[in-house]
């Protein structure tokens, strides 16, 4: 019989992982709100930074809350979600890129 690899987070003691996840998401949110609403940096700089912060928050949700790497055999959800993210960034980034040519063409 093949031995399966179990990769589960043991739920013992105080839920530190969840508390740290909450604190991280609150801090990242606060930085994004402060940058966008309270500072007067160039829009391109602000938008680039808050999108990176948003991606950081996505990783917090996946790894701190969603038990992303857990599985009783192989964690197939990890390549699935990263492939979906690749498609998502291609669709959104590609749309922004292709539409930015419009002003030059017309």
């Amino acid at each position: 019989m093949e031995t399966k690899e179990h990769k589960f987070h043991q739920e013992t003691g105080f839920p530190w992982k969840h508390v740290i996840g909450l604190l991280l998401s609150l801090v990242l949110t606060a930085i994004a709100f402060w940058l966008a609403l309270a500072t007067h940096q160039p829009p391109a700089v602000v938008i680039s930074i808050i999108v990176v912060l948003g991606f950081g928050q996505l990783l917090v949700q996946l790894y701190m809350f969603m038990h992303f790497t857990e599985s009783d055999d192989r964690a197939w959800q990890v390549p699935t979600i990263y492939f979906a993210l690749f498609i998502a960034f291609t669709v959104v980034g590609g749309s922004i890129w292709i539409m930015s040519f419009r002003s030059i063409v017309s």
Binding site: F8, Q77, L85, V91
Partner: protein
């Protein structure tokens, strides 16, 4: 291994105490894996709506712009409510794995309540927008805005109803491999909705206040 275990749980998935209860049947692992694939496809669906919104953002057709329309207090409260609901939903899964049914149900009820707070503010925002003439058919910007934010709000509405139905099953049957699997799946759905909202407040609301 004892025959009793084999008879109840089948040959391939012996009950191992290190494996959480929601993985105690092979079908459960497959359903959880399948739900992750659904989340991947839902992510792609939202990416199309985001791409449409980003392209349409400046096409206001003489109507209200995002800077005039978006209310900072409203979307800040919505963000805080959803961030905390993701945390309480995570604590429900944590208590489920420790076998505390009552604590788990309490955290799920708090999650649903925070979801309703979020929906209340979002519905209020939509009603206010429509009352000042910023309807879906007013401009390309508003069509894309209502489609993207409305699709997310629709997901949250479905999520609260779904979570309530799981709570009822937990109260009636306790934590079994089947109810645990249902609770686990609705919880990763809820965290996913919070992740989508993070990109909505970043790309739609905060960006809409900057440009």
């Amino acid at each position: 291994m004892s025959n009793a275990h084999t008879a109840i749980h089948g040959d391939h998935h012996p009950v191992d105490p290190s494996v959480p209860v929601e993985y105690h049947e092979e079908e459960n692992s497959l359903r959880i894996a399948g739900f992750w694939v659904f989340l991947g496809s839902d992510l792609v669906l939202f990416s199309c709506l985001f791409a449409t919104y980003v392209v349409m953002h400046g096409r206001v057709a003489g109507g209200p712009t995002s800077q005039q329309l978006f209310d900072v207090t409203g979307f800040t409260i919505e963000t805080i409510a959803l961030l905390f609901s993701s945390f309480t939903c995570g604590l429900a899964t944590y208590e489920m794995r420790r076998g505390n049914r009552n604590a788990m149900v309490t955290w799920l009820f708090i999650t649903v309540a925070l979801g309703l707070v979020f929906l209340g503010f979002e519905i209020d925002e939509f009603v206010h927008n429509v009352s000042i003439g910023a309807t879906m058919q007013r401009s390309g910007f508003l069509s894309a805005f209502f489609t993207l934010v409305g699709t997310h709000g629709c997901h949250v509405t479905m999520g609260t109803l779904w979570m309530l139905s799981v709570i009822i099953q937990l109260i009636r049957y306790g934590i079994t491999p089947i109810t645990a699997r249902k609770a686990f799946i609705v919880s990763i759905y809820w965290h996913f909705l919070d992740a989508v909202w993070i990109f909505i407040f970043t790309v739609v609301y905060l960006t809409g206040k900057v440009v």
